[in-house]
Symmetry: C2
Subunit: 585 residues, 2 copies
């Protein structure tokens, strides 16, 4: 990751600019840029207010914590982040993971629960900074695409499903197992609250109409395209305002039992130092590590995708620092773990954000909300927040991905499905870890039975290919075997067995040429096997030769006495050379 150039870095980087990418952008800042950033920032703020409260609910936290998560962390990210348009803040999947992790150590609704979520943010921040210091950003590479798709789809499904409870106005205990939730939901369903459901349905309609039709209508009514599409992004806010007004005017919370958000304390929390409880910190460590990895991965993926659109790149190292500090900021400002969100970042970019000044505007909007507008949300029905969450996570469920992966590679499809199912049945942490373990085991399995091909000469060229696929020339006294894999502990026995079986079938054989074009390293187990193979072949009257050995492998072999004991065996530059000299092919 070290050779990646940061976004928009001019030819002459100042030291400060290395740390604060925003300095570089401000140098070229124009009035127009500010207008674009402001519009994007305001639109994201309007999305973030309902999402923040909804995600905090998802994590089992009071709504204001979701709002706090959109203030200090955003200010910090705006200073240190290398992506121009990544929208940091509370995100759905991290909220789900926080909820699962914290519920194992504290009771929902207690001060302990809140404190534990803050500690989790601190740990996530420290882990991200440690990953930067130890240059471990590449850890995220160990999560394969299939694991991520399976995990994200399952998590999104669980999140969407978990919201049905408030959408239908039901009450049943929280469960972290999807099948159990399903049973609890089915049992509670008959006692649904009709008014709550009606309000939820109304908010769904408002959001769908805003998303798909509002922009056309407003443009038809004469508004400019920019204003129209900006207003269309405010769907969740319209839904919320409608919900608040309905409940407040008709006293639905009292007369119809519609659950509302209730009191949200105005103003900022009094900053208190986090308690250092090493036993708790250690217990939270695995969850913090996974939240950090997933959050970093999501942020970098979205950030890279957006940067590519503008032919720029982000710096994963700078992102580790920015997200690490943002999470530490979250911990000390009464919030919970944050990351770069998929949906809001897309909106931020599409709305014209050109620098992280947009994030500063969003954060300011959230700060104003917290200071002045929280009483407005007292009558907000929780069912409306549920619809906000469902609309945000549904695009993450990737059914076509499963189909495409199945066609391309069964092992990947198996990993994807396993991750998906284990996340649903046993929870996000176990599911994610099983998926990663499975993808590694399948990789080992695949490389432990490598493809091996006997090759022959293609026409009069110097090119040698598989005798089973091409019409090639061979010579019975000379066998060219290409091993399509590195030689290492998991495959040495298979390779040895296969070669000895080939030799047994060809009694005229005098020379065996091992074509090493696909071998990039040889480990100690394989070296021992090669030595045994060489000696066993010699006893059967066959000489072992090597061809097409790559530089690094040759360097490795020269460190040992393998080459000295090859007897009449030679190392040839190419298969062609070997075959020409050994059997005139």
């Amino acid at each position: 990751m070290s050779d990646v150039k940061p976004t928009g870095s001019p030819s002459k980087n100042s030291r400060w600019q290395q740390i604060f990418p925003i300095i570089g952008w401000l140098g070229q800042y124009r009035r127009e840029t500010l207008i674009n950033d402001s519009i994007a920032g305001i639109i994201v703020a309007i999305m973030l207010v309902p999402q923040g409260m909804a995600y905090a609910f998802l994590a089992g936290l009071p709504p204001q914590m979701g709002l706090y998560a959109g203030i200090i962390p955003l200010f910090i990210y705006a200073l240190f982040g290398s992506s121009r348009s990544l929208a940091v803040g509370p995100v759905a999947i991290a909220s789900l993971m926080v909820g699962e992790a914290v519920a194992q150590h504290a009771q929902v609704g207690t001060q302990d629960y809140i404190a534990t979520a803050m500690v989790l943010a601190l740990l996530v921040g420290i882990i991200l900074l440690l990953m930067f210091v130890l240059r471990l950003g590449s850890l995220v590479n160990f999560m394969s695409h299939s694991v991520i798709t399976g995990f994200t789809s399952a998590a999104a499904l669980m999140i969407a499903f978990s919201q049905l409870k408030s959408v239908f106005g039901l009450s049943f205990p929280r469960s972290h197992s999807f099948p159990e939730s399903l049973v609890l939901f089915t049992e509670a369903l008959p006692s649904f609250n009709i008014t709550t459901l009606a309000i939820s349905a109304l908010s769904l309609i408002i959001m769908l109409l805003s998303k798909y039709r509002l922009s056309f209508w407003l443009q038809a009514a004469g508004l400019s395209k920019t204003v129209a599409s900006a207003l269309a992004k405010a769907g969740p806010m319209f839904a919320i305002l409608t919900g608040v007004l309905l409940v407040q005017i008709f006293d639905l919370d009292k007369t119809q039992g519609v659950k509302v958000v209730g009191d949200i304390p105005a103003g900022f929390p009094i900053l208190s130092l986090l308690e250092v409880d090493l036993v708790l910190w250690q217990a939270l460590l695995p969850a913090a590590l996974l939240i950090a990895l997933i959050g970093f991965l999501e942020s970098v993926s979205v950030g890279t995708a957006l940067a590519s659109k503008h032919r720029e790149r982000i710096s994963p190292d700078k992102e580790l620092v920015a997200l690490g500090l943002a999470n530490i900021g979250a911990a000390f400002s009464g919030a919970y773990p944050v990351a770069g969100g998929f949906g809001r970042s897309m909106v931020n970019d599409a709305s014209g954000a050109q620098t992280t000044v947009a994030s500063l505007i969003t954060a300011t909007g959230l700060a104003l909300t917290v200071l002045f507008f929280t009483p407005w949300f007292y009558y907000l029905p929780t069912g409306v927040l549920g619809i906000v969450v469902i609309m945000a996570v549904l695009p993450l469920i990737d059914l076509s991905g499963i189909k495409n992966t199945w066609r391309f590679n069964r092992a990947d499809a198996l990993t994807l499905l396993t991750t998906f199912l284990v996340v649903l049945i046993a929870g996000v942490e176990i599911g994610l870890l099983s998926g990663m373990a499975l993808s590694i085991l399948l990789l080992l399995h695949r490389t432990s039975h490598p493809h091996m091909a006997v090759v022959g000469r293609v026409g009069n060229s110097e090119h040698f290919r598989n005798i089973k696929r091409f019409d090639v020339k061979t010579n019975p006294c000379c066998l060219g075997v290409r091993i399509d894999e590195n030689l290492y502990f998991a495959n040495t026995r298979h390779i040895e067995d296969t070669i000895m079986a080939m030799v047994a079938e060809q009694p005229q054989l005098q020379h065996l040429v091992l074509i090493c074009s696909a071998i990039s390293f040889i480990d100690a187990s394989a070296l021992e096997t090669l030595e045994m193979l060489r000696d066993n072949l010699r006893e059967s009257g066959v000489t072992l030769h090597l061809a097409d050995v790559k530089g690094p492998v040759m360097d490795q072999l020269k460190q040992t006495d393998f080459l000295d004991h090859m007897g009449d065996g030679q190392v040839y530059l190419s298969t062609h050379e070997a075959m020409r000299q050994l059997c005139d092919l």
Copy 2:
């Protein structure tokens, strides 16, 4: 493993012979074969009596269990085993592992402890049979040579050290941590028993003399070489007899406090059905799995080495069955887990064993010992057994292996040292598992930063090699990049970054040829990266081509629409073809 031919299978295998390899051997059995088998069988029996008792002690079990482990399991192995000279029975490392595993569930010296060891044998047997049914014999391939060397050396060191307690006649509590044992030993050392130490020293001298000098002396005295070297193998038995006689004649156990073996019940144990306690079985499962794997691995390694000497092969599948049944036999005959031993198998082979009839003779010898001679061992000093164990395991400590591995491959050396140290500090199970995990992680790390080479044409040949290592021709409008690794989730990001950096450095570039000679598979994550790379390159005005794509990879790509979206990009049979057509190189 399926294509391995069993030892000595004649051209026309009967069905019975498929199951019982011994039938094939008996068909060609001669009087001479019987004499050879008998000599080898008796020599191994003479080694096995003291070793059996000593290993049982090592496992915390009464000595007769080590003798039982040399009867029924050997009869069973003789019928089902595919190795002519593998000597099955109690082995040092498995005994250490049994001791560690059982001590977590029962108190040494109790009936529970004994029953748990028997259950462990049953589980080991079932696991081996399951590995056969599920064709999982290749699981052992996931233990690299370095893990095994590190593990074996550390286990041997622990075993040898654990015997110093009885060699010096000390008493201190058992500990499974090497550092703790070291402290306990040092604290207890001042109170050593001088008579015990003297007897131990005497037995060491007897064994060393038998091993290195006795054969010469006897030959000089006129005995035939065969008899002389057979007698030289009886060193442990001489040492034991000397010890027994000294203690018995001078009453050293009463007057000098020399610890002796004491009563060994004569005759066979009353067979009792094993108790089915699913909670215990589940708890023992991880240990049973590791004992099964290590035992199977040791047996197959020794068996293969011995078979190779006679230009034969063993069948790992048949070994799974034979060892599985032998362990189940052990469980139901009052014994504990067995495997093919390294030292005794070597002696068995060197003494002339030609078929498993030798094992039948050994087992008969053990049965006679159990029936008639156990009272003779009442006065056997435990210190002498300690010396027997130490002499047996010292050759397993492989210091030169560490040195050689370090020179060849640092990653392997790191694995070896880590396994060695963790086994010593945290015990065999954790040590073995950490070693395996580390070897897999290092493999992933290595393949996640693959070697990539820009290649050029070697002289006028059709061969293309690394521009950094060879004097080659290139063309600035055409870049040939060879990726020396499969494309999969852990390395896609690195590869993409490296290629984009190469492209950025070469402004004249029009064609990028990805040379796929070392790519044997592409997973779903990599396919996505390739698609992004293709599209990003196109936007930079560079066309992506592929060359030297192997058959299986081509089949995979054809399943997708990747090839349809390559635009002007082509797939060339060879690098030479690509370079000739694209830039006339």
